[in-house]
Amino acid sequence: MQRLRFLVWKEFLELRMNPRIFGVVIIAPILQLTMLGYAATTDVRNVPIVVADGDRSAASRDLIAHFDASANFTVIDTVTTVSDVEPYLERGRAWLALAIPAGYGRELDAHRPVTVQVIADGTDSNSTTVALGYSTSLVGGYAQDLIAAQMPHGTPAGIDARIRVWFNPQLESRHFMIPGVLALILLVVTANLASMAVVRERELGTLEQLNVTPLRRWELIVGKLLPYGVIALIDVLLVVAVAVFWFEVPLRGSLLLLFAMSIIYVVCTLSLGLFISSISDTQQQAMMTATFFFLMPMIYLSGFIFPIENMPRAIQLVTYLIPLRYFLVIVRGIFLKGIGLDLLWPQALALASWGAVVLGLAVLRSQKRVG
């Protein structure tokens, strides 16, 4: 135990000699969280729209005013013909163009149906889908108002839809992204730093020296990883505090459970770092392996941004190998849904087994290499 304490102390001293490392493990997570919290929004607001008003009547101006008054649209310019809108879309100055045909007002007055055209820049398919939805429902509501003005008695029979959104009624994408950021930051901080810490000793040749000390193998591993584990848990507190107090993400579940789950997860990511270090000779290799084979697939295939249920079947199966997948379900469940271990135990179990397997592999590999 005393030997272990010395090793942990040495590891901390080494961290302290490197003042920039504190920037990396303390300031960087806060910076990333703020950036992600504000930038990672898929909400579509203030869609810039250009209007080609071929009618120039009171009726067409009324429709344009409805678009401009809506919080979803900003009318940036009005032109006369449809061909004039092309430069706006090509340069990306407008996402949508509303084309009102000549004779629009006349047709409306004569109670004949009239069609307006909405031209969308399909480059950003995601935002365009949303923006098109806004425009259809805006014009639909406008048409409804016109009908109501014509026949003021009663609403027609049929089904009335009442749509309710649970867990996140304002549909803030921030509430979905920020708990994910916690998982991501822990991964980046622990897996990378741990992998490089061990490889560095190998590269500099000091690992041999550690091997001839009376340290047992598990003491060596625990001693090397413990400092990073402590840093990671500080990061958890920091990130949760910023998420709850600054971004006002609701924490509906138990903080204690969140903390316990984070410990399991950090053991997983530290084991991963150890495993990476056991298959790398140089820091450069460790870093490349960590980034390309572990970090990037985890970001993209874990459901952090892209929903797993949209992926092809074969790739969905691959995602079961990613620990971040389970942890994301846990964090989001605790934050947004306030659910507990009674519902989350399959994820917790999967996470714990993943950690056990990888830790075992890493220990086996490193025994062979140094022994």
Partner: protein, 369 residues
């Protein structure tokens, strides 16, 4: 220039010796494009739907089948208890619940309005918004089907949507250019980020300092071999995305080459600058990730629209090179824009690259002194 080439030759030899890194730099980007190109999309289909049908009449079943037959929803479960539905939402076994009230058929038959409830799990706001749109348009259609007696009046104004550049709104065409930018940025930055700091750590930097080379030609020489590698790998992934994902090529190849080269020089310069600042490879690596990984995903318009961000953050995006590259890349391949419409983003890329390379050499020169 001759001296720069000599440094380049030496660096190339060193890269060639480390096979694993070389392979990572050339082929892994293509592999990732494949993997992510197939895996990632925002096209929402097969939304898991739980149904709580308290009416159990032909009319209520017609509403349910309107959902299932739309192709957007898959029936996950039929429940008879609100608590069971809640549990399904909690476990993500259902993303939406359709609740049909008792007496739907009776109300609609009597010419009254019945209220159908749709509960959507909002944890992913983006998916939820789309699902909301699907649900309300399905219910609108179903409404006129189940109440044939109702007077349906043609709306006086209708919208005819037309979509340019990407008519089927395939999210792949939107995401693949972003992936190209992202993968190139990461490979370029990480490849050079370690190149100078490694020499510092091994002490060979002292030898370089003795050699009669100016700092600028040293920096340029370090960049050349990585530029060749990065360009090859970028060409590979661009071709792959055209063949495999049907990314069109509507503009000129020359314009594409200009845009890609400028972007890569900027990215390599960023890596070199990081390398001159850092004392250890560990720091260089963390800095490289911090500078290239997150901003390129988050602040470039790759996934999240810049116009939806807060003002301050929008200002920050002006220093993210991928932002300009994405405008240029999407413009060239999807919209067929020519160099003269794209001169602003291209000029920004030139400025960025020049700034990075000169900062790196200034920084290095100060260390020399």
């Amino acid at each position: 220039m001759r001296k720069a080439l000599a440094v380049g030759r030496k660096e190339l030899r060193q890269i060639a010796r480390d096979r694993r890194t070389l392979l990572i730099l050339v082929f892994v980007p293509a592999f990732f494009l494949l993997l992510y190109g197939y895996a990632l999309n925002f096209d929402i289909r097969h939304v898991l739907l739980a149904v709580e049908d308290r009416d159990g009449t032909p009319q209520s079943r017609a509403v349910v089948s309107a959902f299932v037959n739309s192709g957007y929803f898959d029936l996950a479960a039929s429940v008879y208890d609100p608590r069971a539905a809640e549990r399904l939402l909690d476990l993500n076994d259902a993303r939406a619940v359709l609740v049909i009230p008792e007496g739907l058929a009776r109300e609609v038959g009597n010419g009254r309005t019945a209220t159908v409830q749709v509960i959507i799990s909002g944890d992913n706001a983006n998916t939820a918004t789309t699902v909301m749109g699907y649900a309300s348009s399905i219910l609108r259609t179903a409404s006129s089907q189940v109440s044939p007696g109702a007077v349906t009046m043609a709306p006086p104004v209708t919208v005819e949507p037309r979509i340019w550049y990407n008519p089927e709104l395939r999210s792949t065409l939107f995401l693949v250019p972003g992936l190209i930018a992202y993968i190139s940025m990461i490979t370029a930055v990480t490849s050079t980020a370690l190149s100078i700091v490694r020499e510092k750590e091994f002490g060979t930097m002292e030898q370089v300092r003795m050699a009669p080379i100016g700092t600028l030609s040293y920096v340029v020489g370090k960049t050349i071999p990585y530029f060749v590698i990065a360009l090859a790998s970028a060409a590979l992934i661009i071709l792959a995305s055209m063949i495999l994902f049907g990314l069109p090529m509507r503009g000129s190849w020359f314009a594409l080459l200009v845009a890609v080269s400028l972007f890569l020089v900027g990215a390599l310069g960023t890596g070199l600058l990081i390398s001159t600042i850092s004392d250890t490879q560990q720091i260089a690596f963390q800095l490289a990730l911090l500078v290239s990984l997150l901003p390129t995903i988050m602040l470039s318009g790759f996934i999240f629209p810049i116009s939806s961000m807060p003002r301050v953050l929008q200002l920050v995006t002006y220093v993210v090179p991928a932002r300009y590259f994405l405008i240029a890349l999407r413009g060239i391949v999807l919209k067929g824009s020519s160099l003269d419409t794209l001169w602003i983003p291209l000029a920004a890329l030139v400025i960025y690259a020049a700034a990075m390379l000169s900062l790196a050499s200034v920084r290095l020169a100060r260390e020399h002194a």
